[in-house]
């Protein structure tokens, strides 16, 4: 247990050393997204149930910050350790694979949560000044639930990719070709109903779609997907990506690049 806590502490201290970059860049990007999409474009977008587009967009941006940073944290932790050679040390000390995965997973969740939180603060500020009222949070418990499951899923994914990646390019290829489309087709910016039917079908195979909608439900009280399905898919995603991370630790390489 002490071994696990130490590793978690190290993961947290690691990103706290770069906390400014960690938080400034999502502040800037969410500020820009909100300015362009939320405020300028938002006036012409009509959502069902009369929800302002800004309220629709904010939870989506929060999830985007969450998953990107969870993924980033665990994958960059592993990749930099591969460069410096201290990933080998992790294999040499008496810590189990499960402890490694959980510590890195939670480290990613915490960073992802911080970014989502800051994104939320920026969003709420926008919301207040644009619409003159504070945005309500409908279901705080489910927010925590989706932060945890979504964060873990993408941290585990980061572990998986970083361990099996042979080069830095493979890692960034994953971000560009998999993560980015998943995010954009997952309903961060638009409701699925506005998409072409083909893309609607595709979206239903995207686990991120359920996560975003679950989280959106937690914040604004409704979404494109039934809550139960979102919960089940999110739990299943955690289980599957955990399995993938474990596989990578057993099969992948701890040796340096």
């Amino acid at each position: 247990m002490i071994g696990f806590l130490t590793l978690l502490e190290k993961e947290i201290k690691r990103f706290l050393k770069v906390i400014i970059q960690t938080l400034i860049s999502p502040i800037i990007s969410s500020f820009l997204y909100l300015l362009v999409f939320g405020v300028s474009l938002g006036n012409s977008v009509q959502m069902k149930n009369g929800v302002p587009y800004l309220s629709f967009l904010i939870p989506g941006l929060m999830v985007m910050g969450l998953i990107n940073n969870s993924f980033q944290n665990s994958s960059s932790s592993i990749v930099t350790s591969k460069f410096s050679g201290d990933l080998e040390d992790l294999r040499v000390v008496p810590i189990t694979n499960m402890q490694i995965i959980m510590a890195m997973g939670l480290g990613g969740v915490i960073r992802g949560f911080l970014v989502a939180f800051v994104t939320g603060l920026v969003g709420y500020t926008f919301h207040y000044f644009k619409l003159g009222e504070v945005m309500k949070i409908e279901h705080p418990f489910w927010i925590l639930f989706f932060v945890l499951t979504g964060g873990l899923t993408f941290s585990f994914m980061g572990i998986f990719i970083a361990f099996i990646a042979k080069t830095f390019d493979q890692l960034s290829a994953f971000s560009t070709f998999i993560l980015l489309p998943l995010t954009y087709l997952g309903g961060v910016f638009v409701s699925i109903e506005t998409l072409h039917p083909v893309w609607q079908t595709v979206s239903h195979f995207n686990p991120l779609f359920y996560l975003i909608n679950g989280f959106r439900y937690a914040v604004i009280g409704f979404s494109d997907v039934d809550l139960t399905i979102s919960i089940l898919v999110s739990l299943l995603s955690v289980a599957i990506t955990y399995g993938m991370a474990r596989y990578a630790l057993v099969k992948g390489s701890f040796s340096r690049w």
Partner: protein, 290 residues
């Protein structure tokens, strides 16, 4: 469990080569054991398989066949137990950019389940002359300091088995001496030490026993002085009172009196005698090249 800190039984390690579909036979049927309080030197040229052996002991690599046992426990069967018994100094230097020496040693203690390990950390910082650098970031350290940090890391949990993969590479002469003294101290505490090195002088000074490995095979294993007397050339240089100088080589098996008698030299004619016992280095190159 038993009392043998390390035992290798017919260890074989081959690496697949993805590109050609061939195999590299890095370790070929290696067996040896190390006793508590013993420094065992593993010597061999580049690519001989020394690091591969260490990697299988630490479970960084899986043995292709054969066993590695630490205190009688197979490292692949109960790695948590065997990992707790050993400390490792890797050949390649680590270069983490994020943390200070002190933080790294605290984390390392935590990995072994040790919360309040400050006295041990202070002791190691002192012993390895790292005290004044304790709050420096690893990136700010010189190569020799990093090497010493790695040694400190390997020792935070007071292991009973220490694996040193070329621990003095890049360490200057003065510090090398003090490291040797430190390693000897550890040995006197009863720690078993596996040392690989390219400095044969180091092996000669520290190791009671050595194994010489070439192309994955152990070609000699035994006491260090036995290797030297068996494989190196003993030389005797005589300076006569007349000013004449004579040298006799390849006289390993002969005593001085025997040499003098055989060459009909009277003891009283000799002004000075110098005996060159031969060096491990010479024995080593003879063996490896034969």
């Amino acid at each position: 469990m038993n009392q043998i800190p390390l035992e290798l039984k017919n260890l074989i390690k081959t690496y697949p080569l993805k590109e050609s579909g061939k195999f590299v036979e890095a370790v070929r049927d290696v067996s040896f054991a190390i006793k508590p309080g013993e420094i065992f030197g593993l010597l061999g040229p580049n690519g001989a398989g020394k690091t591969s052996i260490i990697s299988t002991i630490t479970t960084l690599e899986k043995p292709t066949s054969g066993q590695v046992e630490v205190f009688g426990v197979d490292v692949t069967k109960d790695p948590l137990f065997t990992k707790k018994q050993m400390g490792v100094v890797h050949q390649e230097i680590i270069n983490t950019g994020f943390f200070t020496i002190e933080e790294i040693l605290k984390f390392q203690s935590g990995y072994y389940g040790l919360r309040n390990n400050q006295p041990r950390i202070d002791y190691l910082l002192e012993k390895l002359s790292l005290k004044e650098h304790r709050s420096k970031n690893v990136k700010q350290l010189s190569g020799g300091m990093k090497r010493r940090l790695m040694i400190a890391k390997a020792l935070v949990h007071s292991p009973k088995l220490l694996l040193l993969d070329e621990p003095t590479a890049g360490v200057d002469v003065g510090l090398r001496e003090s490291l040797w003294n430190f390693v000897t101290e550890l040995k006197n505490e009863g720690i078993a030490i596996l040392l690989t090195t390219h400095y044969l002088e180091e092996a000669e000074k520290l190791c009671e026993r050595v194994g010489i490995i070439n192309k994955g095979k152990i070609i000699f294993i035994g006491e260090t002085h036995a290797v030297i007397s068996q494989y190196s050339t003993k030389k005797v240089h005589l300076e006569m009172k007349s000013g004449l100088k004579v040298s006799f080589t390849d006289v390993a098996s002969m005593g001085l009196v025997e040499i003098l008698e055989k060459n009909k030299i009277a003891f009283s004619d000799i002004k000075n005698i110098k005996v060159d016992e031969g060096k491990l280095e010479e024995a080593f190159s003879k063996m490896v090249n034969s």
